[in-house]
Structure formats: structure tokens, C-alpha cells
Amino acid sequence: MNSLPLGSRIGALLGRMGLKGRLLVIAIPTVWLLVFFLIPFLVVAKISFSEAAIARPPYLPITEWVDGFFTINLNFGNYMFLLEDPLYVAAYLGSVKIAAISTIIALLIGYPMAYLIARSAPERRNLLLMMVILPFWTSFLLRVYAWIGFLKGNGIINNLLMNVGIIDEPLVMLQTDFAVYVGVVYTYLPFMILPLYANLVKLDEAYLEASADLGARPVTTFFTVTLPLSMSGIIAGCMLVFIPAVGEFVIPALLGGPDTLMIGQVLWNEFFSNRDWPIASSVAIVMLFVLVIPIMLLRWAQASGGGES
């Protein structure tokens, strides 16, 4: 028994607890999701049905014991309030718009890059992928701050353009939606490139040769063979860019203008300026649904599409 390696002993122990093989593999991510996703989600959901108060914590409990009766008071008013004021809908739409446009731009830039990396010689691929990932070695915050230096009135881009003589007056780029798009696309581009690359590198060149043999031009081949085959990579990349971009707070706060309306800022205001944790929580819950429903629809479309081919 003592001579068994540690791994086997742990395996035997878990086996006695009824956890082995597949079940064990599934159990770890399940517990992870329970602890780090479901429980916090339920806590936020609970607060969203509460009422704000000047207290610690700053909301009223939703459950109480009265004369031996256990009662739950759910306050749906917070959700109703989100519909009463057009601000919230406008902010959700603003976030979805900025995220959607950024995703499209990231796709248009990321696809050719991923394609090029996948089609380059195998020994160069790792170097090119390394260059995509390298910026992650610097703090995200610093990289966004660096863009301030590029975009500001007497920043690098304006000075360059003025020295060359293309413009006379500095362009106002910082504190505009344009700067937000630049920041979001720049930050999330690797999340677009990596799944696309993983998909495109597996593409069997025999398909392309077959297409060419049958008389298709490269452009036709691309749109009828390469693009449809890489659709799962496109969807994965778009999800990885779109989802975090909707909830983005830091980039619009640093690069955006005062009229850049995104839900992250609204949530911040509810939580910090209004100290209304219940409303802030319901904004967060609604945001989750705004994100989850389209994703489920897409996954459903993906699954049914996959079934046909």
C-alpha cells in the first residue's frame, strides 16, 4: 500500500468516496461553477429583490420570521424601475452597439491575421502567435493608459500627423467613442485571433485543392469552402470579444467621452453614487440575461447547423 504512488492513493481515496473516472472529471468544473458562479449569482439575485436602506449592509433583508411564520418579501420594483426610466434601455443598447461594432472590427482585422498565421510555415507560427499574446505580459490597465498617450491632443499620433503636415489642428480623438472602439478592439483582438487560428490551422488543404481543381477562383473558394468551415471559430471568437466588451467599464471610463453611455458606468453610478445596491444588482442580473439569451440562441443555431453537415 505504502509503495503506491501518491496519485494512485488519491485516486483510490476518491474512488472509495464514489468519485472516479468521468464523474471526477465532471465534478471539478461543476464545483468550480457552483462556488464561483452560481452562489455569487444567487447572492446578487437576492439583493436585486431587496430594498435600499441606510444601514450595513445597505439593503433590507428579504426574509423574516414574524410570529413563527417565515416570509419572503420579493421587491420587483427594482426591475420595474429599469423599464420606467429610458436611461437603462439606452445604456444597454449603447453597450450592445459598442460591443457589436467592436466585434465586427475585431473580426475583420483578426481573420486575416489568423489566416496568415495558420498558412505560414509551421516553425514561424509559434513566433507569430507569441507576438499576438506578448502584450498580455503588460498590465491591461497600463496598455489602456498607453493609448491615452497615443490619442490625446498633444499625443503621439497628433504630433506625428502635424509634423508630417497632414493636419494643422490636433484631432480630438481621446474622450470620444472612436477611442473606445480603438481600446476595445485593441484589447480583445487576441481573443478573436486565437480561436480563429485554432480552427483555421486544422483546415485540410485538400479541400482548397479540390475546389481549385473544380475551377473555383481563390475568392470563390474562400467564401464557399474556407469561411463556412471556419464558422465555429468565428462564433467562438466573436463570443469571446462581444461578451466582455458589453460589460466593459475601464476602457470607456479612461478613453471614452462623457457622452459614451455604457451599462458598466450606469452600474457604477447605482452602486457607488446612489448607494442603491438592489437597483445595481438588478441592472447586473438584467445584463446577464441580455448576454445569456443571445448566446443560448447562437449555441442552439450552432448545434442545429452542426447537425445538418
Binding site: P58, L87, G153, N154, T260, V266, R275
Partner: protein, 360 residues
């Protein structure tokens, strides 16, 4: 104070659990003490200080409302302290244990008592005003001399329009901008009346096109670098920008004005959370801050005036005579303090502020 650079945070790492009985956890504004303030306290008392910083009242408040922050001394502004005391977040200050309490200016204690009855929960740390910092040369080129250093620079559309091209900036703080706007209109700066708020919002909407951005610390660098020419900002922050510009030697000349129409006077308060693990050490720290020499050293470094009458003799002459740091009596007469808003009004105000900023 309201700068995002972190200092002394390395000190937080020096804490040892074995010395729990001689520890002190301070949560303070960034850049709001002299470089040796904490060091000297540690040397004097043998207490290990864990020093963390924040840069907005809201962030501190969220921590306090969550509870179990683990801090012994926190520094909310007076109107925030008033509300947080109402929620029962602070322990009463045991003034008998503060040998230096008598150094505090009784007039200032009286002003503060409006928000903190009998000065129960807070000891004033520093005073600040919310006025206008501007680039002397850029502004003089653009607007009439009689408008310079007046709220017209921000609230009068014709004047503000002339500053739009060189950069006019406003704090991203609804109550601290609405109050002078109300005051400019001849209304009560602490009014919670909806009609008043609408008038003030209209005033701000009129100048909105000329405001480059709303931010509570970015203007310090931008003023110093000449990226903007006027900002509604905190006294000490503008004066720090002035010094930085002078050090850079690029010929950028920044000055700070408390507008003649009147401006907000604010107080940051030392307070002890009700669940502070080391309340005795917290009192020792507060008493140390009240020492005349210590308070004067801080003022000399951060350019915020202190409410410590015994400290004035140790304050550098140019600092003590700077009307932006120690406003003269006639200026002070027109200044006003903010009161905490009701939760309902805060929501209305935040909403109006969002409309001003985004047009939605």
C-alpha cells in the same frame, strides 16, 4: 489627496500577525500625508502601520457599508461621514484620550457640528475648497479680466465658449458641481428642491458643449502639461499641478481661485469604524495627527489647509499666506459646506448628472 498615485502602499506588506496588538490599519486618500508622517508615527510609538489608499469617497463608503473592513482609521469627507454615522458605521471619538484636541479651531468645529452633532464621530483632518484652477496665460488671451477667477468661466455660456478650444474641465462629482451652480443662480447650494435642480441642470446644459470632460483627478496632469486651460477642481490638487508645471519649466503658469461668488468649503474627517480591530491605536494616530508640527508638515506638503490653530506657526509662510489654502475672512464668509442628501435626492441628482453628461 485626490491623485491616483499610490504611496506608502509597500508599508502594507510589512505587517506581521505576531504584532497584532501594536498594529494600525489606516485607509486614507492617496497623496494626502507628508512623506514621513507615517514613518515618524511608527518610530515614535512602535506601532506598525498598514497604510492603504483610496481616491473617492464612494469607494470608501462601499467598503464601510460592506462591513468588516478591518480598518482602524478612515478619512471620509464630512457630508459622507454624516450619512455613514447615521448608518451606525463609526465608533464615538473618545476626546478625553486626545491630548491635542484643544489645538483644533473651535469655529471650524462649530461649522462641522452642523453635520456631525457635538463632533461625535469625526476629527477634522484637512480643509479644502472646490474652485477653479486655470492656466493664467491661455485664459487671459481669451476672456475679459473681470471674468477671470469667477464662476462665469464655467457657468456663463459666452465665457465658457471662449475656453472650449483650450480645454474646460469639470469634476465628475454631481453634488460638488450642482452646489456652486445653484449658488451661482442665487439659490441655496444645499437645496433638494426639484425645480431648483432643474434650473441648475439647465445652466449646465447651456455650457455642456464647451466642457471637454468630467473627471475628478485627470485635470491635475492636464493642467500641469498645458493640455487644458481651466478646471473646476480641489484647491490642493490645483496647487500641486501649479508646482508640477513650475518644476517642468515649460512656461506653464497655473493658479487657483476661489470664485468671488462663493465656493464649497469641505472637510475631510478622521473617523474610527465601529468594528475597528485596534481602536486604541486609532486614537493614538489621531492624537499624533493633531500635533501642531505634524499637521503643519502635512499642509506644507499637500497644500491643504489644516484646522489646527497651534499648527499655523509651523506652516511655511508662502503656504499660510496663500488665499487658496487659507482663505481670508471675507472670502470664507461666502463659502458654503455641503450637507448629506437624502437617498431619494441622490438618485434624482445622479440621474440629472447622467443627462448632463450624456444628453440622455
Amino acid at each position: 489627496m485626490r491623485k491616483t498615485t499610490l504611496i506608502c502602499s509597500a508599508l502594507a506588506l510589512t505587517a506581521g500577525a505576531a504584532w497584532a496588538e501594536s498594529e494600525l490599519n489606516v485607509y486614507h486618500w492617496s497623496d494626502y500625508v507628508a512623506p514621513d508622517t507615517v514613518e515618524n508615527f511608527e518610530a515614535k510609538t512602535g506601532i506598525t502601520v498598514n497604510y492603504d489608499v483610496f481616491d473617492s469617497n464612494e469607494v470608501l463608503e462601499a467598503k464601510m457599508l460592506t462591513g468588516s473592513s478591518g480598518y482602524d482609521v478612515v478619512v471620509p469627507s464630512i457630508e459622507f461621514l454624516a450619512r455613514q454615522a447615521q448608518a451606525g458605521l463609526f465608533a464615538e471619538i473618545d476626546k478625553d484620550k486626545l491630548e491635542n484636541y484643544g489645538n483644533l479651531d473651535p469655529d471650524i468645529l462649530k461649522i462641522i457640528a452642523v453635520n456631525d452633532p457635538d463632533n461625535t464621530y469625526g476629527v477634522p483632518y484637512m480643509m479644502f475648497s472646490t474652485g477653479i484652477g486655470y492656466n493664467v496665460d491661455m485664459v487671459a488671451e481669451r476672456i475679459d479680466a473681470d471674468k477671470i477667477g469667477s464662476w462665469d468661466m464655467v457657468f456663463d455660456p459666452d465665457t465658457a465658449a471662449k475656453l472650449a478650444d483650450c480645454g474646460l474641465v469639470v469634476l465628475d462629482s454631481p453634488s460638488e458641481i450642482m452646489a456652486p451652480a445653484l449658488n451661482y443662480l442665487g439659490l441655496d447650494p444645499n437645496s433638494e428642491d426639484k425645480a431648483d435642480l432643474e434650473k441648475a441642470s439647465e445652466l449646465l446644459m447651456g455650457v455642456r458643449p464647451y466642457i471637454r470632460y468630467f473627471h475628478s483627478s485627470q485635470y491635475i496632469n492636464d493642467l500641469a502639461n498645458g493640455d487644458i486651460c481651466a478646471a473646476v477642481g480641489y484647491s490642493g490638487d490645483v496647487l500641486q499641478a501649479r508646482d508640477r508645471a513650475a518644476e517642468a519649466g515649460q512656461g506653464i503658469n497655473i493658479t487657483y481661485a476661489i470664485p468671488k461668488e462663493g465656493a464649497q468649503i469641505g472637510f475631510d474627517m478622521l473617523a474610527i469604524p465601529d468594528d475597528a480591530p485596534n481602536p486604541e491605536n486609532a486614537l493614538k494616530f489621531i492624537d499624533y495627527i493633531l500635533e501642531p508640527k505634524v499637521a503643519a508638515d502635512i499642509t506644507n506638503y499637500v497644500y491643504f489647509g489644516n484646522p489646527n490653530t497651534a499648527a499655523t506657526e509651523f506652516v511655511d509662510e508662502d503656504v499660510a499666506n496663500d488665499p487658496g489654502i487659507y482663505p481670508p475672512q471675507d472670502v470664507r464668509a461666502k463659502m458654503f459646506a455641503l450637507k448629506p442628501h437624502s437617498a431619494r435626492y441622490d438618485r434624482t441628482l445622479t440621474r440629472a448628472w447622467t443627462t448632463i453628461k450624456t444628453g440622455k
